[in-house]
């Protein structure tokens, strides 16, 4: 029997974690993820979830405790945002090297300064070189589903990397939507219990996890290579998991890495992430009703970056307008724009790629904003080259 409830994104994540039968939570509050850990506390307090709840005294400690629990052999969960994520950066960088699965939910919030509780991706983009997988959800339903899928992906022996499941602060984290809450038995069939595969801390199987990189730098660097291989392998795993989830639960999100809307016969496409995609869908629909050959690509997986999939669909496009919710400071452009240009560089036939930096500091990106972007993208495709490459939508 399927249950449908009105849930906020944060509540949906809490349900996803509960259904994933997490065994340990390290909880520390920070706006706008706080209601995730509050909801989990109430599940445990009411006996609905059997998990140990550690009231850690900081985010740095939150990830320390969650990683420790995963090494001991339990499925662990934590959540953070913005300053908290930045505070735990040391552990964020540490975790992937141990090849231990972990899942952390992030309610995206702009990193200070300016001090802001509202959404942009400066917090998670700041972690992009650490080796964590990063999956961005458009809405509460996807958030719930992606937590469950996220554990499957993280714990797959081909991956064994930590995963961030990201939702837009406030727009998704605090907005109620109808969400189907899957049956526990079905989730159990989809997500088996966790067993540590590689690194562990177990007196019965003593392992030494003190890394001396400098003793043999090239051998140590090889581990980074293996780690990257796993991140690349994750592309296949994410697609498989998405497909299997669709079979079992009736919900899929593109191919798991990207979602295409009307791209097959499009000349230009918008590329978005997260909840602003919802608004972009409206603009694209309107454009189509006016006969404009416009499509939409939603990037769900930022890490691993789906270069192959983007290359494939880019071959038919004349222009792509990348909408970035985070700036690659010092490079004069947005983060995803920079990634895309790099990915498509070697194509024999390349689309024009232009960048719109929008939605920073929680600012709204309206249907009209997207319509203006579509206009510029079409003009760029027609002219064969852009008027300006990077525009800040302020």
């Amino acid at each position: 029997m399927v249950k449908a409830e009105v849930l906020t994104g944060n509540e949906a994540i809490a349900y996803g974690a509960k259904l994933s039968r997490i065994q340990l939570i390290s909880a520390y509050p920070i706006t706008p993820q706080t209601t995730i850990v509050e909801k989990l506390a109430s599940f445990i307090a009411n006996g609905e979830l059997k998990a140990y709840y550690i009231h850690v005294e900081s985010e740095h400690s939150a990830l320390a405790a969650a990683l420790a629990a995963a090494l001991a052999g339990v499925r662990a969960f934590t959540a953070s945002s913005s300053q908290g994520l930045a505070y735990m950066h040391e552990w964020v960088a540490y975790a992937p090297g141990l090849r231990v699965p972990l899942l952390m939910a992030i309610a995206n919030r702009s990193l200070a300064v300016p001090w802001n509780v509202f959404c942009d991706y400066s917090d998670t983009f700041a972690e992009m070189t650490t080796g964590w997988l990063q999956l961005y959800c458009e809405n509460a339903q996807e958030a719930l589903d992606t937590v469950i899928q996220g554990y499957r992906v993280a714990e797959d022996e081909r991956v064994c990397l930590p995963v961030m499941v990201c939702i837009d602060g406030w727009t998704v984290s605090h907005t109620g939507e109808p969400v189907e809450v899957p049956d526990q038995e079905k989730v159990d069939a989809f997500l088996p219990p966790y067993r540590p595969r590689y690194s562990r801390l177990d007196p019965d199987q003593p392992m030494y996890l003190i890394w001396r990189g400098w003793e043999d730098p090239k051998a140590t660097a090889k581990f980074e290579f293996f780690e990257e291989e796993a991140a690349q392998a994750a592309k296949t795993v994410i697609k498989e998991v998405n497909q299997q989830y669709f079979k079992l639960f009736g919900r899929g999100y593109g191919n798991g890495l990207i979602e295409e809307v009307k791209v097959e016969d499009a000349k230009v496409a918008l590329l978005t992430m997260g909840s602003m995609t919802g608004t972009a869908r409206v603009a694209v629909k309107r454009a189509r009703s006016e006969g404009k050959p416009v499509g939409l690509i939603r990037l769900k997986a930022f890490r691993p970056f789906p270069s192959e999939d983007l290359k494939k669909l880019s071959e038919r496009l004349d222009a792509i307008a990348v909408v970035d919710r985070g700036v690659l400071h010092g490079c004069g452009c947005g983060v995803v724009y920079s990634h895309l240009r790099s990915s498509l560089y070697d194509l024999d036939e390349r689309p024009r790629i232009i960048n719109f930096i929008a939605g920073l500091q929680g600012s709204e990106v309206s249907v009209e904003d997207f319509e203006a972007m579509i206009k510029k993208a079409l003009r760029t495709a027609e002219a064969g080259k852009p008027k300006e490459l990077v525009e800040w939508v302020l």
């Binding site: 140990y52 005294e57 900081s58 400690s61 320390a64 001991a72 007196p203 003190i210």
Partner: protein
């Protein structure tokens, strides 16, 4: 500090996981691919040894493995300074871990920089002796008393010169934390560092013993609120006897020595009053 580690591990046994905070013992205990102790071990990020231990110990509980000793070995830097927050949190949560701080009174692994535990007057590379500075100008933090305020079930000071006393304390900590699950046990062991203190290696134990015999390093334990001195010299030697053994103190003026003597005296008096007050409140 190796003594502190070796005796602790002997006392705790093989059903133990070691969390080596970054520092001297973090590195001295292992070489590529192996550890000296053959126990599962990890070196966590510097600020959160205790938080890591918290996650580990609660995970073992979930797995039905309550008798695994979760043992944190950290230096004074990793405890009094950068690690204090995590230690405080673990103590407040009553996470049943055994935390041993080996105190060599500075960040020795990185080359003798002052820590919150460096005593007044000591030379270190960041509290050097020059025209204006004469070694550390502040009194040290008293981490054991900070832990006392957390009302943890077991607290003790120890010294590498009093091994039997120390081993007894480690066993007590294991009983109270691992077996009886009463909360965090904290042992703060004084551990001379020959290069950092400017003493010959072979004088380490002698110097550590003088610290106790002069009252500089009182040995006590607090078992579920009940305070007891475990070693109490009948007559205390003058602090100068201790200070003059170490090159890091050889710049001290008579005035500085007098300040240190006064500080030792008042600290001991404070402990005596505390002991009385605590036994009154629990008695």
């Amino acid at each position: 500090m190796v003594l502190a580690f070796r005796h602790a591990v002997e006392a705790l046994g093989r059903n133990t996981v070691v969390i080596h905070a970054p520092g001297c013992m973090g590195w001295v205990s292992n070489m590529p691919g192996r550890t000296a102790h053959k126990l599962p071990a990890i070196m966590p990020c510097f600020a959160s040894s205790a938080a890591f231990a918290s996650g580990l110990v609660r995970a073992y509980e979930i797995l039905g493995r309550r008798n695994v000793n979760v043992f944190v070995l950290a230096g004074d830097g990793g405890t009094a300074d950068i690690g204090l927050q995590a230690l405080s949190g673990a103590a407040e949560r009553k996470d049943p871990i055994i935390y041993v701080c080996y105190d060599n009174e500075a960040y020795m692994n990185t080359g003798i920089q002052q820590s919150g535990s460096t005593p007044y007057g000591a030379w270190t590379t960041t509290t050097p002796v020059g025209r204006l500075w004469k070694g550390k100008e502040r009194e040290r933090k008293d981490v054991p008393l900070i832990m006392l305020a957390h009302k943890i079930p077991y607290l003790a000071t120890a010294s590498v010169a009093y091994v039997e006393d120390y081993v007894k304390k480690v066993r007590k900590a294991a009983r109270i934390s691992t077996i009886e699950r009463k909360g965090l046990s904290y042992i703060h062991i004084h551990s001379p560092c020959p290069p950092g203190w400017r003493i010959p290696s072979e004088k380490s134990i002698e110097v550590a013993r003088l610290a106790v015999e002069t009252g500089f390093w009182p040995l006590y334990e607090v078992v579920e609120g009940s305070f007891k001195f475990t070693v109490k010299p009948e007559k205390l030697k003058p602090i100068a006897d201790y200070l003059k053994t170490q090159g890091r103190f050889n710049h001290l003026t008579d005035q500085q020595i007098a300040i240190i003597q006064e500080s030792v005296n008042s600290k001991l008096a404070e402990l005596e009053r505390l002991a009385l007050a605590i036994s009154r409140s629990t008695g």
